[in-house]
């Protein structure tokens, strides 16, 4: 909660203003019964109506004042809440963007989204439901008690004699209600997770004729949830009814004792009426207390989870004093792996002592069977992960000494199975970079042979792209990925070729586009196409995480070892991928 204050602080003037209104509300509210008392005792009871108009005016001013004060207090609170929570969300999002790949591999998407949406929303509900005023309610109660004591302390004591009952009751039920609330939350969560699993696993349930048992389990969760709610309904009903009853009893006691005093002439009628009003007002905050308390409880839990996300360390960050490379440095555009060892877990080495030297402007193809460690090379270059031993250098500087953003501007990593974002075709090429002019965009799209496709779209560049890009074919997605890279124009290009096969005509377009993309850059290609390999200056054969062969296509074929077999297996039999051996090894290496 204290950390939440940091987000409120920029809006503290508004915040304190809303807090300052609270006593005004209490005061105006407390004034009304007192005016009643004065009206009755001074005028009505004496058959005098002369001052009634003035008191009614004061009363109506108090009512109108209260109306606006309550409204403004709420509105100002919401202004503070919505502004500071919006800031919190942006902070969370910005933090998320900087978290390492490892974090995203470990946490399900749904959970991450929940932190930024549902949990922050619970905090917003705390402000919106007025739970924050819980402390102010206590002040109001204190005000009512003092004014009652001030008007007539004996009558006040009689009225307040019920308060111990109220305290004991609330305490009794609050403790139980808290337990049942937690039970309810747990049980609805269990229903949710059971359902989401049962729905995705429904084919398995049906295949194994497990419906009866699954239903029985669901029924159990469902019944447990119902029972917890039944219990909480009983507590809530009892709490509500007891408070109502106690408030009636308090009024009866006041009338009882008060009537004796009136007869004796000690207490006036107006006092009695005012007391009845005060008692009514006394029980309103008490009635709301349990709801507000529950909201506060869940807000505290949500805040804990939200700040836990903010506390997750970034792990991979830019160094304090990054090294810069001069634009005309002869090393610019070179890539070097020096005795690199890497494992995702423990001693499970994925790369063993890999050394690799790529000169500026050179195209190097990396080939290897599934699980040879090809994809890991890409992940180390972009610092999705850091090496365990050895070093990776880009343009002559260790990647760990680069400024992260500059490193990633130096090397463009292209996964050819383009991940598409909701937006337009144009925004998916430029990825929202304003510096890409319309001209560049058009030139890029032309260069990767996508122009005809774009002009066939009803809205052209403004064509909306749907989530997951279901409206683009595999070939179009490959070309789009090239367009992205070309528009990005990196000095060093790292390309993971797509494994999905396309028809012959598209293949032709893809190859042309690739030619244009590679021109004038250093390129490291995880190759799946024979044409790419043949064009490479050098081929590096990775096998079980070790560099086993290096050379040109002809040299390696002549060698007749790993490459020769790989070639026969993956590339010689036409371009169709038979069997499962051409699947990307990225997924299996990462898990």
């Amino acid at each position: 909660m204290r950390r939440l204050w940091r987000y409120l602080r920029p809006y503290q003037r508004t915040f304190w203003m809303s807090v300052a209104i609270l006593p005004v509300i209490s005061g105006l509210m407390l004034l009304q019964p007192y005016l009643l008392k004065v009206a009755i005792d001074r005028y009505v009871d004496h058959g005098d109506t002369s001052g009634l108009g003035r008191i009614a005016t004061l009363f109506s001013l108090a009512v109108v004042g209260e109306f606006f004060a309550v409204y403004w207090q709420y509105y100002l609170t919401m202004v503070v809440a919505q502004h500071s929570l919006a800031d919190l969300r942006v902070d969370l999002f910005a933090h998320l963007e900087r978290l390492p790949q490892r974090y995203f591999d470990r946490n399900p998407v749904g959970r991450i989204v929940t932190r930024l949406t549902t949990d922050v929303d619970v905090l917003s509900e705390m402000f919106a439901s007025g739970a924050m005023t819980i402390f102010m309610d206590a002040l109001t109660l204190l005000g009512i008690v003092s004014i009652m004591l001030w008007i007539d302390w004996r009558l006040a004591l009689v009225a307040l004699s019920v308060v111990p009952v109220v305290i004991v009751t609330i305490d009794f039920f609050r403790k139980r209600a808290r337990v049942t609330y937690r039970l309810i939350r747990e049980r609805i969560a269990r229903i949710n997770s059971f359902l989401s699993e049962a729905i995705s696993g429904m084919p398995v349930i049906q295949l194994f004729a497990h419906e009866r048992a699954s239903f029985a389990e669901f029924d159990e969760h469902n019944a447990a949830h119902r029972d917890a709610n039944h219990l909480s309904n009983v507590y809530e009903a009892a709490l509500f009814s007891i408070i109502e009853a106690v408030s009636s009893i308090a009024m009866a006691l006041v009338v009882w004792y008060g009537s004796g005093q009136i007869v004796k002439g000690v207490v006036a009628f107006g006092t009695l009426v005012a007391f009845i009003e005060y008692i009514q007002k006394f029980f309103i905050p008490i009635r709301d207390f349990s709801t507000k308390y529950a909201v506060m409880q869940s807000a505290i839990t949500a805040a804990e989870r939200v700040f836990q996300l903010l506390d997750t360390p970034h792990e991979i960050v830019s160094p304090a004093a990054p090294r810069r490379v001069a634009a005309d440095d002869p090393e610019r555009g070179a890539v070097r792996f020096e005795n690199v060892w890497f494992a995702y877990k423990g001693e499970d080495w994925v790369l063993r002592d890999v050394s690799l030297d790529v000169r500026p402007g050179e195209t190097v193809a990396i080939v290897g069977a599934t699980g040879s460690g090809k994809s890991t090379i890409i992940k180390l270059l972009g610092r999705s992960f850091d090496v365990k031993m050895g070093s990776v250098q880009v343009s002559g500087v260790d990647v760990r000494e680069w400024d992260l953003a500059e490193l990633r501007r130096e090397i463009g990593i292209v996964l050819q199975d383009a991940f598409l974002f909701t937006g337009t075709l144009a925004s998916n090429v430029t990825l929202g970079r304003a510096e890409v002019s319309d001209e560049t965009l058009r030139a890029t799209v032309r260069a990767v042979n996508l122009e005809r496709f774009v002009s066939s779209l009803p809205l052209g560049y403004a064509q909306p792209i749907r989530e997951r890009g279901n409206n683009l074919s595999a070939g179009q997605r490959q070309l789009l990925a090239f367009a992205r890279a070309l528009a990005y124009d990196p000095r060093i290009l790292v390309l993971d070729e797509a494994t999905s096969s396309v028809d012959a005509e598209t293949e032709q377009l893809v190859q042309e586009a690739l030619d244009r993309l590679l021109r004038g850059r250093t390129a490291i290609v995880i190759a799946h196409r024979l044409s790419t390999i043949e064009r490479a200056d050098r081929i590096v054969v990775l096998h079980h995480g070790v560099v086993r062969e290096v050379g040109t296509h002809a040299e390696l074929l002549a060698l007749g070892q790993i490459y020769a077999r790989l070639y026969e297996l993956q590339y010689a039999g036409g371009r169709s991928n038979v069997g499962a051996d051409a699947t990307d090894d990225g997924a299996s290496a990462g898990s």
């Binding site: 009814s241 069977a369 169709s576």
Partner: protein, 634 residues
Amino acid sequence: MRRLWSYLARYRMRYLAGCLCLIATASLAMAIPVLLKRAVDSIQSSPDVATGARSAGFYAAIVIGIALVQGVVRTFSRFVIFNVGRDVEYDLRNDLFRHLERLPWPFYQSRPTGDLMSRLVNDISAVRMLLGPGVLNVLNTPVYYLYAVSIMVSIDPLLTVAALAPYPVMLLVVKHYSRRLMEGTLRVQEGLAEMSTLIQENVSGIHVVKAYVREQSEVERFRAMNVRFRDVALELGKARGMIAPVIRSVSALGILVVLWLGGRHVARGILTIGDLVAFMGYLHLLAWPTMALGWMLSILQRGRAAMKRLEELFSVEPDIADPAGVPTPDWAVTTVSLPVGASAATINGQAAAPHDGVQAGAAHANGSANGHRAAPPAVARGDVELRHVSFAYPGSKKLVLEDIDVHVPAGATVAIVGRAGAGKTSLLHLLPRLFDPTSGTVRIDGRDVREYALADLRRAIAFVPQDPFLFSTSLRANVAFARPELEHAADGEALVREAAGWAAVAGDIATFPRGYDTMVGERGITLSGGQKQRVTLARALLADAPILILDDALSSVDTQTEEHILHALEERRRGRTCILVAHRLSTVQDADLILVLDEGRIVARGDHASLLAQGGLYADLFQRQRLTAELEAI
């Protein structure tokens, strides 16, 4: 709505009792202001001091008595009504889940999980709100008004009209704001959904975001979205903020009228101070129900809309179902059943799968003629035959299987090989009726699979799917999935261990600290792909069915372990029909029959030797496998 009444009807006595208590509570509440008035009046009007105090005390005592009785009755009325709401929620949720369990796979492919979840959780809650707080307030308000207005009119008609004048205004204001509230809530929800999508995309596409250094611009995009959301939320806040001050000031305005007009009447001797007390009491009592009435309108609307969405789900008919005449399985019997309307929706707007089998038609005729047919036979041997089977996925015209004709005698082992996308998995899915063929018939033991009760058919087939789906329960429960009764049976443990042994996963399980009690998934351990596959295999082996189907079930298992498993399976396979899809030819070469599938057709069949001799796709595959093995060995 008709459905809702049927659910409510089950609890009608309790609900009625609750409603009666509610009316009793309201009546008692209405007596209190009158009694307070009597007490105050008796002081003012009694001739001597002692009688005045005595009669005031008498009325006060009655008020206390009423408050106590009311406390009990009110408690009862509230929890009974709310609990019935929870009971109906429970019934509805159970029935909907039962219904979901009967809907076939294609249905789940066309519906996002989130949509189904939101119906089972949020929509049902909205219906419950309608039955609980909704009905409570709808009933309360007229009763309160009836009593209060008639008593107030009997005291002073003019004052009644004046004091209650703000109330209809409040009702209108609240109604207006609840509409704005609903619209605002909708917009806030849309904003939340929009933000969720962006976050979700950024999380799934984080590698692209990072590779192209788009973090900053994505944050800017999110910030802009967030600012829009903030403003929408503030708009909602404005509407929501009106409600509280309106309630507070309306009863205060009523009291102002009582003070000003009523005060004059008292001064002139038309009214007593006790009358004023009664008036103020009623004004307080009416404020909340009047306000609630405005709320109730939106709860009512939401409940009705939610019920409609539930109804839509209930009306989806399973188009892969038991043949006519098979009694509904006990777990599928809903607490409330309604006759199905003629307009029952079908999946994807497609007509139900054509049942062109003669037998299926005959069975249907039989079923309706006798009203009730002898229980269909169980699968005994496991003789599998596909006759001229063609298949296209629902909603697609492209045939993924074309004129498949094959006979697998009971006890034989058949392997299916072919490229990715050749139709191997689709073929396997037709056997346990995850899909029905578009034309042709699938027969087991000489009968169309559509003639068997679904549960019998599926119990006869132990299926190991390509994607090893496990549930987040214990490993024991996962292995015993097909026979849940074994989980707690005395000999269950031995059988579970035996199955795990055959699937070569027992050793792995032994290394987990909690052994078979180890939880799978988020709350437990993460299994490797190979381990998952072996657990799913153990699950199928424990099912002890006459037909065993392995759909590329050992792809993530290393060659050595696979050999071990195959060896163990040889023993288990004896007398059982086994159909397997595999990429490793070492897995398939001992099969009695190998089918080579290409683009939905069987292009070659025979045993390993004869297929090799034929050359073509099989020989090509074999050559590749040999190379891969060589590579591995280097």
